[in-house]
Symmetry: C2
Subunit: 479 residues, 2 copies
Amino acid sequence: MARNIAPREKDYSQWYLDVIKAAELADYAPVRGCMVIRPDGYALWESIQHFFDEAFKDSGHVNAYFPLLIPISFLEKEADHVEGFAPECAVVTHAGGEELEEALIVRPTSETVIGHMYSKWVQSWRDLPILINQWCNVMRWEKRSRLFLRTSEFLWQEGHTAHASREEAVEETLRMLEIYRDIMENVLALPVLAGEKSEGERFPGADNTYTCEAMMTDRKALQAGTSHFLGQNFAKAFEINFQNREGELESAWTTSWGVSTRLIGAIVMTHSDDDGLVIPPRVAPVKAVILPISPDQEMVEGKLLPRAAEIAEKLNAVLGKRSVKIDKNFHMRPGDRFFASLQKGIPLRLELGEKEFGKEVLHAVRRDTGERFDIPWDEVATRVPEVLEDIQKNLYEKALAFREKNTIHVTGYEEFSKIFEGSGGFVEAFFAGGREEEKKIKEETGATVRCFPLGREETGTCFYTGKKGARLAVFAKSY
Amino acid sequence: MARNIAPREKDYSQWYLDVIKAAELADYAPVRGCMVIRPDGYALWESIQHFFDEAFKDSGHVNAYFPLLIPISFLEKEADHVEGFAPECAVVTHAGGEELEEALIVRPTSETVIGHMYSKWVQSWRDLPILINQWCNVMRWEKRSRLFLRTSEFLWQEGHTAHASREEAVEETLRMLEIYRDIMENVLALPVLAGEKSEGERFPGADNTYTCEAMMTDRKALQAGTSHFLGQNFAKAFEINFQNREGELESAWTTSWGVSTRLIGAIVMTHSDDDGLVIPPRVAPVKAVILPISPDQEMVEGKLLPRAAEIAEKLNAVLGKRSVKIDKNFHMRPGDRFFASLQKGIPLRLELGEKEFGKEVLHAVRRDTGERFDIPWDEVATRVPEVLEDIQKNLYEKALAFREKNTIHVTGYEEFSKIFEGSGGFVEAFFAGGREEEKKIKEETGATVRCFPLGREETGTCFYTGKKGARLAVFAKSY
């Protein structure tokens, strides 16, 4: 067991922070609630970005950049929006040595300023749809922060689209939700429930919010990404109007959707173990590390390192540039070098010692199972990708099995409460309550409606109100 | 001539803004001095980023992310630094509904907060060098802004490295300058002078600043990127100390270097013409546009579009995903469609009308020269890349010839002054003056020392002070 990491079963919060620290993913910054994303954390973010960005572009979206600072009056144009975000805002009052006439907020999200610009860009139905995404930093002031999960500043993408019809905007909202689900499951190996948020959990200013909810290994839910149907709320507040094909003036229909550096927290809390970080191979910036090991420096320089370089080149050609690293920490003991690669979450360790050199193999060790086996040099280009795919599959299946094991269907409130007094989990229940009932359930049990999962259209008797025809909801405690 | 673009010779400033507007690269934002980078401008920035990012990574650098907000006290730790940047800062005084105990500045540059973090990460010589780069937004409040050249918020990369020796840090400073020069010349087709800044033009807090200076088509200089040798100034201010191999405590040596969205302004002002934007092919997000043209909708749907799609696929396989666009603005007149692709700066237009369809060719039109010629369908995969490379070469050579034509060597101040009363340009002169002389020359002529170019080590008599052994300097008016 790692001495620098608290056991997960004993102290989950400490384990989480220790895993991040040991993997050098992030540090707290000198400004309260802010973080520094260290190189290995940022490389993981770049890899995550790559998959989402490609999917956005393949589905016809383009990137742009809108300003960081937003006039405070913009926020006030949408009533629910200002109520939701004003308390979390950081405010610029002075600039260029002078007090500003109007204070500016550091964007907590950009619906308002983007709405303002869209109103200038849209005149006719021919200007629609606008399908823009932005990768940027946002600021939501936090009293109690937690690396990657809740920090005053974080990085994200925010998609903002405008459409000529309600149907098209709803379709877009669901299309992006599905893109999120697909990448989360198939790249990040995070099984998620894609579903609709309850009224109380909606984005401030949205008509409807959809979400992807993942279960962490402490059985709490993490909202991994959301997609909002904003109706005409922002279009009306910011006058995004267009002439339709009949020449009549209409308000546009808008959507917004986002995922953030929080996904790194989701990866940590889904796959990692008491030894430290585990990264699913498809999203891992470094997919395998080759460790040349010998006390004989001549052997290392003359034979092991050149062979390692050849193999790395061959693997990089298959797995992508810079996917394979050669560990050269020869001043460390072999055990410490193994351990360092473990804690970094690298999916596959490939040892190359004198014995392996003689047999013309690499000794492979899987990060997920600890399984060990030799791979002949002339088979690395096919075997390594196969093993990585198997690790990917295994991590997903393990996470899915964990969620299924910890998902319980209940029909009554007593049973419901007991679960959240105990170890928790996802609780499925038919639910017909509104904001008030949700609030009460949260106060009494700590659990909230995570979503009404899509594709589960059955109805039944509400476990809380007894009403008939209630929708199936999933409850959990959450981050 | 384009009716929506002022002639360059008549009103250079207006021409510049008109080109940007016609190409939809950027817009002014509702906050004074800030800009919105529109999708086509942002795609150009992403392309620029790609080349620099790959070069940084290939030379051993890694990316990370440091916080946006910096305690104001950090800025004050380096005396020159605070003097240089304090007047331009935007200041956050309130957050989370409360007044902050210490005001925070929105980063104008990150030497201070990164220095603070490095002091925690560095203990031993084994922790060095640290080779980190950050892509982010920065804020320097501007009274008079100009899209891409001078805006209160802009996007950039800032590299920050720490080293165990002075030599290594100087080497890094020059390595990054050379990477900048290489990409600017070979990708952006911007001929640049790489050189050392004079004392008066140094980065606040640097021991030495190096720069790449490009000549715009109004003969003014644009500082396209800088690389700073920071000595031990920031290491001492932020206590970046390490134990050397002998066990003694030393201060590290640091560097920083950056290029920004300003490069987009440089591309506009180097290559564009009275018809609008011209983008060099290697950096162009869209390298060619195929225009199916026919009044016969059946012809368009049944023959031209499918053929265009096939050709685009073939070209994208060679030039990179999404490099070729198919124009489907069939509601516009052909002339307007040609014109739109011209104004977007797309290097090559490929027309596919009924005539071309019959001959199994595309009718190609070069953006740089207007030259027209047919390319047979079965030769596109080789011919189009060749033509693009030729456009790239031509743009670079044209810009270089322009700079050479407008570079004059002078030996006396009268001659010098006359040049800057006239059309200006780059003026080479031996110069031995200091801050005072530079200031006076600027007041009298508007020109400043852009750099002492590297690789031009000859010395001579100072044109201003008459001192012997003066270094060769290049003067110009600048952005």
